[in-house]
Amino acid sequence: MRRMLVVLIVAAALAGTAVAQPKVMSLPELGIVPGTAGGTLTLSLGSAPPSFFYYGQIDNAVQALTAQTFDPLLEFNLANYELEPALAASWSVSDDGLVYTLNLREGVTWHDGVPFTADDVVFTFEQVITNPETRAGDSAQFTYTVDGEPRQVTFEAVDEHTVVFTLPAPSAAFLLNLRAFYMMPKHKLESIAAAGGDAINGAWPTTGPLTDVVGTGPFMYDNYVAGQLVSLKRNPNYWKVDEAGTSLPYVENLEYLVVGGTEAQTAQFLAGNIDALNISGAQFPNFKEQELAGGGFTVVVNEALFGSPPHLAFNFDDPTLGAAFSRTDFRRAIEYAVDRHRVIDDVYNGLATLPGTPTAPANGAFYEDTTGLMHMFDLETAASELDALGYVDSDGDGIRNLPDGGPNLEFALTYASDSQVFTDIATIIQNDFAQIGVKADLQAVLNSALLGTGLAGEYQAIIVALGNQPDPELRKPIWQPGGSLYYWHRSTQPQTEGGPVNFDAMEDWERRIYEIFDTGTVNVDAEARAAAYREWQVLNAENVPVIMIAKPSNIAAVYDRVGNFVYNLGVIPGYNPVPLYFVD
């Protein structure tokens, strides 16, 4: 009797320490239902992964794989993008906003059974993320400039399940930034990090043993056939459960076929070799037709937060036409000649909306509706505005000139030729501009070279698409004047390496935007911060540093056998609905 009591007490104690803190995934607003366990789900990668180490290179394939095999400290709520616990079960911030204390989830283990502890977190941040040698680390994110001096965030493991981050200055988006980093195992990477130098980037090569690549994520590596297939299998000890308490993920095997190119991916999807595929608005009619003819799959459309809206930018510093391009009144007049609705209808087949300036309309926390301030398509008004500003055809060749007999308003319009969307948009713009006497000559570059061309200033007008993020601060290098990606007004960028931003080159509204971003970094009052960013969007709409064109919707085609499908780009850290998918 006594022995039985002892056994019962011991059993109870052990049960209590098993999976101590599972996270319950409950998302009725997305239509998530309890699923059936087992089966194989097949998705696609656009290219073969160069290695399995997320921080060794910036590559879409390894990002997609890491999203399934590793976890960050915090993650997004799949419905409303609010920050939720992931590997960190709870956290607290000190009153001065300098000390963040994160309590880690207990009972989490790496795929090889070793427990996940605060040492792993500190190792990841100190030896990997802020290591200047890792190619896809982000040490700049954790270096703050205080009184002109660079100061580092410090990381400390207080005990096995508590990590303390101490910041040199308050940062409003610090937790949001933390969400972007996957935690790495110290016991597997310690030695290669200690080797120093460039060696860390060679961690976990594709030719090495897959048993070395351990994470805490819903799936673990099972097999890799070079250049063709990556097989993942279910992690039986994953820390997420569904509402009924069933351990996630549901599927037993997750396979990634390496299929390069849109045509090949479409063919594999239609043949049934891939279960779900993200497609574009241009492919929508074809897929929808097949769906309605009984293809066995459904085309899913939803509004996008991530994903890149194209915009038209003019080079403020262009030697010939910069005098026109840098003037707000010129850009506002030319905005009348950009036919956004035609792009939405003809290029995206209606599956796009008017853009934000530039925050995505789906971004509930920060979006400001500036469509009322935008100049909508009206060629007559465009022509009369340009006339009023003095851009008339003074030499009678059919093309407008700059005021006072200046050069022709003729310029190169650079676009990505290997993207059907960009090509169509460029052609529409060229045609419409021609009707008001503005001559745009199409200049093709490859998509991969597009941003580089912009950053080098080797363009006059250019069509580029830069992504949206849930918090404008994450896009600061693009939208803050003088930022490293503020490519349309490069004279505001520091004129010497590491030097100060060039305020003299800024317009008044650019100085105001600069202030907004500066204070947005440190302002911990969420409402004031959001109000400031809304003011920024209004300033953008009124002064059009770039002319935003459209915000494409997110479209995916998914076979009916897949349940609980939620659209995702696949590579956004902290947004992974795949553990909830199930197959019939």
Binding site: T42, S47, P50, S51, G56, Q57, I58, D59, P132, E133, R135, A136, G137, D138, S139, A140, Q141, A180, D198, N201, G202, P205, T207, N223, V225, A226, G227, Q228, L229, E255, L257, V258, V259, G260, G261, E263, A264, A267, Q268, L270, A271, G272, N273, L446, S448, A449, L451, G452, T453, L455, A456, E458, L466, Q469, L474, R475, P477, S484, L485, E497
Partner: protein
């Protein structure tokens, strides 16, 4: 013969060196560099990009990068570092080399197995209906680009409800060990590349064979053979064809670089793990050492192919001797 061969072999290094210099210069002329792709990612600061450039050696002057690369090849057999794959170029190329040889080899074999008999046939039935038909089909195959044929075949397969659309294997056989079923699956996937890539060369080889055979059939020794009373079939097979096929040996040698270049676009469209897409990607992304190594390989195949063709010609035809 031996002296001739040795003389040709000695010219190898000089030719390859010249080719490498020209290729390197042209690749460097294109604006931008491999690190451009990092600039858009929010994780990258200009300082990180500068550090990566240093790690990859991209901040050194052009000629220094070139000499370091050549030195690596000559002293260590190290063809440089693949930026995208983050490992030595030799492993990146080696991974795909086997499948490239298999795919290109099978398609070339198929093309020749059809073209040569067809060439003989149309030479014998000159100006007949079959001649016109065969020529027409051959020219149509030559005129339509290989990727278009590939896409049309893929569409055809999808229409008939097939699943063997691109790639070398069905998903369930990719990781499976070799078996009879896997071989059947492989052949099931191979017929699209064979048709798409092979039809390009059929017309050329067929017409060449036809022309050669027509020349030979008018020769004196063929007339003599016939007058000796040998059956027409033996005249054709034992005497005419064997002589007519000689120039085709040269053609085969020159076609060796087609192993890489001939299959690029069709491989991209059909998602085959061969060297062609690797060359295209490396040129687009400015993964310079991979591109250089592949261009050198292509040149090497051309030179070797030419040499082998010339030697084979001399071996087959006793009338040909090199000084």
């Amino acid at each position: 013969m031996l002296v001739y061969t040795l003389r040709r072999l000695l010219a190898f290094p000089a030719t390859l060196l010249l080719v490498s210099v020209i290729c390197f210069a042209i690749i460097q002329l294109a604006p931008g560099s491999f690190t451009d792709r990092y600039l858009e990612d929010p994780r990258m600061s200009p300082a990180s990009v500068a550090r990566i450039r240093g790690q990859l050696g991209l901040d050194k002057p052009m000629h220094e990068q070139y000499f370091m690369w050549i030195k690596g090849i000559v002293t260590r057999g190290d063809f440089g570092h693949a930026f995208g794959a983050n490992r030595p170029v030799t492993t990146v190329i080696g991974e795909r080399l086997w499948w490239t040889i298999v795919v290109a080899g099978i398609t070339m074999l198929f093309a020749w197995l059809i073209a040569v008999p067809l060439g003989i046939f149309t030479a014998l039935r000159r100006n007949g209906v079959t001649d016109a038909l065969a020529s027409f089909i051959g020219y149509v195959g030559l005129a339509i680009p290989d990727f278009l044929i590939a896409l049309l075949l893929v569409a055809l397969v999808l229409q008939t409800g097939g699943t063997n659309v691109g790639g070398l294997f069905s998903p369930r056989y990719i990781a499976a060990p070799w078996s009879w079923d896997k071989l059947v699956d492989f052949l099931n996937h191979m017929w699209i590349p064979i048709l798409a890539i092979g039809t390009n060369s059929i017309a050329g080889v067929m017409r060449q064979m036809r022309a050669n055979l027509l020349d030979v059939l008018n020769a004196d020794y063929v007339r003599t053979a016939r007058s000796k009373g040998i059956s027409e079939r033996r005249v054709i097979n034992r005497h005419a064809v064997r002589n007519a096929i000689n120039p085709l040996v040269s053609l085969a040698g020159i076609s060796l670089p087609e192993l890489i270049n001939g299959t690029i676009i069709a491989s991209i469209v059909l998602n085959l793990p061969t060297i062609g897409p690797l060359l295209y990607d490396s040129l687009v992304n400015k993964d310079q050492y991979v591109a250089m190594a592949l261009l050198l390989l292509s040149s090497l195949l051309l030179i070797v192919g030419n040499l082998l063709a010339d030697l084979a010609l001399a071996w087959v035809d006793p009338r040909i001797r090199y000084g």
